[in-house]
Symmetry: C2
Subunit: 332 residues, 2 copies
């Protein structure tokens, strides 16, 4: 098994009220690079921040790192189009962040990213890839892609109150700017990414298609953004078995139906509950309050822990250790 | 401990008779990318070759990989200026291969690479870095840098017959083209790299200086190319303890005196003999005949194995397994 983290940025995240991943424009640009460093090294190296949401919720990358410290899985970070440098080693599939989907052609290099992703997925020696993502604003671009594909699935949010109507307005504006109606891209999945998506979706769907083509097992690690990636794979005409692994926080989100969407797309669906209820710590209590929910492959990493018989209690213990090391004991 | 592999290319390698790392121009461009993939994944992924010298000697990266399979050390691949893509994840410090040192200004971005290397070395969380390199033609550029610095050390070669007089002619031409006399760059180490070196030397000396500045232990893994990197560190005025770990094949090379050079530069010197004499296999017999000798951090990796109490017999066994997996049993 190899854990792949696809990192990117989209200017769509800059729209007021869209994302919990970083309070400011600067923090937003540095969140994916910092997530990658955190999972690679256990701490940010070149990124100037530990990503923490406005109300103090630590990035789900800390959970993924805690699982890595317990299971020692190999990591491959993919740069699909970051907005700031990362000190983590990356395979680069794209060379720029995605634009705001309210404008035309926000991901002009979608086909190139996808093609390189396919080549990468084909080339890796691993019989199992778990593919996570980190891109602030990504649930909105996921909604854009699902709408363009004609897939009627709502997306979840990193905010406790899902700004659903704002996201729908943004998608509507985007469709108008791109001269598209819902479902127009059903047979042109890469056009859906190019006009309504983000670089991460091009990369993840490409890597998945490449790995599936050589018979590898593929687990998409995440929530409704990975539903969009899975839909892109299905709209490429790929019927191979495909898995989605997410957290209980996404699965229990009443504003979206990730389980129903997974069933519609023929995905094997795994939900892992890290048991944060049992713990009183700032690293976990925000998740119980519905913040963040998922991201940086958290759900897939937890599923890996379960497959390897590492208990959730051990993961929680390691998570607190990671958090205290990074943010200071008691969540300074 | 983290193992850093600095990869780059120099057009100097294209000079007929200079390098054993690849029989053809194409093979030469793909050797560092393939070395990186080999150590990262255990096999080439996007690189179209398993690097093997004209007479069938496998790349020393296989030895480094064998040690990694026995000790599971973390790997960081640095792209200082490759001539072909690699499927290994990299931190990119440079954006182009070095030019032929017989021309002016072969490494115009030497300062930028060095500065990014310092930043990277400072930023990594590890208390010990073992830094290896892979760059065909690198012993000639190392001789160029040592000459420009006024360090009177001959360099070794990946060829059994060291083409010393050819290398000296190339360096002489380079000095003339750059309007330099031997020793002119003693106080300007980055000028030595820029006019007479290669991108790897800028990267390795930078990473070493960055790591030393925060008190980390640094082991330069390799032969006379790492002597050049160490000389660059010393000519920056850095007196901190610094280690060089190489193979017995370099240490026993009568055409150079790596031990004497290490002593002159105040380096802690470690030689590891992998005991290839005891083995009859195509993967090892070339080394006993003086081919390749070192590279891709082989000597440093062997030293790591010794520090971790992994026997050379275990490394040799793993090496044969790696080789047979890659090239086919009995060296097809």
């Amino acid at each position: 098994m190899r854990f792949v983290l696809a990192c990117a940025a989209t200017e769509t995240a800059q729209i007021e009220g869209i994302s919990a991943a970083g309070a400011t424009r600067t923090l937003m640009a540095h969140t994916p690079p910092a997530d990658a460093e955190l999972i690679e090294y256990g701490e940010p190296t070149l990124a100037p921040v530990v990503p923490v949401s406005p109300d103090g919720c630590p990035t789900p990358a800390i959970v993924t790192r805690a699982v890595r410290e317990c299971t020692d899985f190999p990591l491959l970070v993919v740069d699909a189009g970051l907005a700031a440098q990362t000190g983590a080693p990356t395979v680069d599939l794209g060379d720029r962040p995605g634009g705001d989907i309210r404008n035309r052609d926000p991901v002009p290099n979608a086909v190139a990213i996808y093609d390189r992703g396919v080549e990468l997925g084909e080339s890796l020696p691993d019989d199992h890839l778990v593919i996570g993502e980190t891109i602030p604003g990504g649930t909105t671009t996921a909604l854009g892609v699902l709408t363009a594909l004609g897939e009627p699935h709502a997306t979840s949010s990193s905010l406790p109150e899902n700004p659903q109507s704002l996201k729908e307005r943004v998608v509507e504006e985007g469709l108008t700017a791109s001269n598209l109606a819902p479902g127009d891209c059903a047979e042109y999945p890469l056009e859906a990414v190019r006009q309504m998506g983000d670089p991460m979706l091009a990369a993840v769907s490409g890597i998945a298609v490449g790995a599936l083509s050589r018979g590898a097992r593929v687990t998409l690690a995440g929530g409704t953004q990975q539903i969009a990636a899975a839909a892109l794979v299905r709209h490429q005409g790929i019927e191979a078995p495909l898995e989605l692994a997410t957290t209980s926080f996404v699965a229990n989100d009443p504003s979206s139906d990730v389980q129903g969407a997974a069933a519609d797309l023929g995905l094997t669906f795994t939900v892992t509950d890290p048991g944060f209820d049992d713990q009183e710590h700032v690293a976990t209590e925000h998740y119980c309050a519905g913040v963040a929910k998922e991201g940086a492959g958290m759900g897939g990493a937890l599923a890996v822990a379960v497959e390897r018989d590492v208990s959730m209690a051990a993961i929680r213990e390691q998570l607190v250790e990671c958090y205290d090391r990074l943010v200071g004991a008691n969540g300074a």
